[in-house]
């Protein structure tokens, strides 16, 4: 197995699930969002969103806080530092599938072949 394919084999399975990937994508782009906003953005049912958020929270990727804006109770979710790093890492690995190897990488490979 080539190193690029090995990278794919180590993809984070917590993020890799489509619904959780949607949640992570939305949360990565914003500072914080509440349950209702996430539900509408990701088009998930309450139960589905709850269970996926619980998995992300237990992985330490998402922070869930109950707060009040005026009298309105909010369940606010945001990505933790660990979550941000994990998402960036995931995107980096998945990119290997679609992107052509960089010129530097190509040069390294050629160099390795010519010397070895």
């Amino acid at each position: 197995m080539t190193p690029d394919l090995q990278a794919l084999a180590t993809l984070d399975r917590v993020i890799h699930e489509p619904a959780r990937l949607m949640i992570m994508t939305v949360l990565y782009a914003v500072d914080e969002a509440d349950f209702l906003y996430l539900q509408r953005e990701c088009a998930l049912t309450q139960g589905n969103l709850s269970s996926h958020l619980a998995k992300l929270e237990s992985a330490g990727y998402v922070l869930i806080e109950k707060m009040f804006k005026g009298k309105y109770p909010l369940t606010v979710c945001s990505l933790t530092q660990k979550g941000r790093a994990a998402f960036a890492d995931y995107v980096q690995k998945i990119r290997v599938v679609s992107e052509p190897p960089s010129t530097a990488k190509l040069a390294r490979t050629r160099h390795a072949k010519s010397t070895g």
């Binding site: 994508t25 939305v26 990565y28 782009a29 914003v30 500072d31 914080e32 969002a33 509440d34 349950f35 209702l36 906003y37 996430l38 539900q39 509408r40 953005e41 804006k69 005026g70 009298k71 309105y72 909010l74 606010v76 998402f87 960036a88 995107v91 990119r95 992107e99």
Partner: protein
């Protein structure tokens, strides 16, 4: 040219536009502009009388308070209308480092594809032109001494609004309303009161735009019923 945005950038853009989705921002801006216009229309006159001075001072103080506390006021209104209906999101503060990070995450370490570079450049150019037209409209107030300056200002503001509509959700009320306002002031309002009436009209247009957007939003997003206990 329509360029599909990468999901992370698209999510960020939607979060940004979410602030304007209910029209409350324009409603508050318009109401505040009306307060300023009110203070301009009824300035204190000699000999001083208590009631006009009190009204003028109240309008001025309210204007300053609303201008300083603008975000908190809009947020307070949103907690009663928007958040219970479509949720709450806090878009990130505009930060070039963060924007670069989002772009890198979305598009890879390589530079963005030419279409997206063109799109971003077009947006920057559009906004520069919008600001330039609005500034020209404001300058027309000061530089031109003829009555038709209101028509010119109205047309310039209208062009700015038409261009702004490319990137932001604005109704046709503002682009159509500004030239009509300019013509009305030119034809019917005494020259010395032109500025205050123009600002008053501007406030009314923003209030109208905000109200229409708010009504449309409320009709499209009825408040969800609380689950039965």
């Amino acid at each position: 040219m329509t360029v599909p945005q990468p999901p992370v950038l698209a999510a960020e853009e939607r979060a940004w536009n979410y602030w304007f989705v209910d029209g409350l921002t324009n409603l508050v801006v318009g109401a505040n502009t009306l307060l300023f216009a009110l203070a301009m229309i009824y300035p204190p006159r000699w000999p001083p009388r208590l009631l006009p001075i009190a009204l003028w001072l109240t309008a001025l103080v309210l204007y300053v308070v609303v201008a300083v506390r603008y975000r908190e006021i809009v947020e307070w209104l949103k907690t009663r209308t928007t958040y219970p209906r479509t949720g709450y999101v806090q878009a990130p503060f505009p930060d070039p480092a963060r924007a670069a990070n989002l772009t890198t995450i979305s598009l890879g370490a390589n530079s963005p594809p030419p279409e997206i570079q063109i799109l971003h450049m077009q947006r920057r150019i559009t906004w520069t032109i919008v600001v330039a037209f609005a500034a020209l409209g404001s300058l027309a107030f000061l530089i031109i001494q003829e009555r038709w300056k209101w028509t010119v200002a109205g047309i310039l503001f209208s062009v700015a609004m038409i261009l702004a509509r490319k990137d932001y959700r604005l109704s046709w009320i503002l682009p159509v309303g500004f030239p009509i306002l300019g013509l009305y002031i030119t034809a019917l309002v005494p020259r010395l009161q032109g500025s205050s009436y123009f600002i008053c009209g501007m406030g009314l247009l923003f209030v109208l735009d905000g109200a229409v957007t708010l009504i449309r939003y409320l009709l499209q997003n009825p408040k969800p019923k609380a689950p039965a206990a």
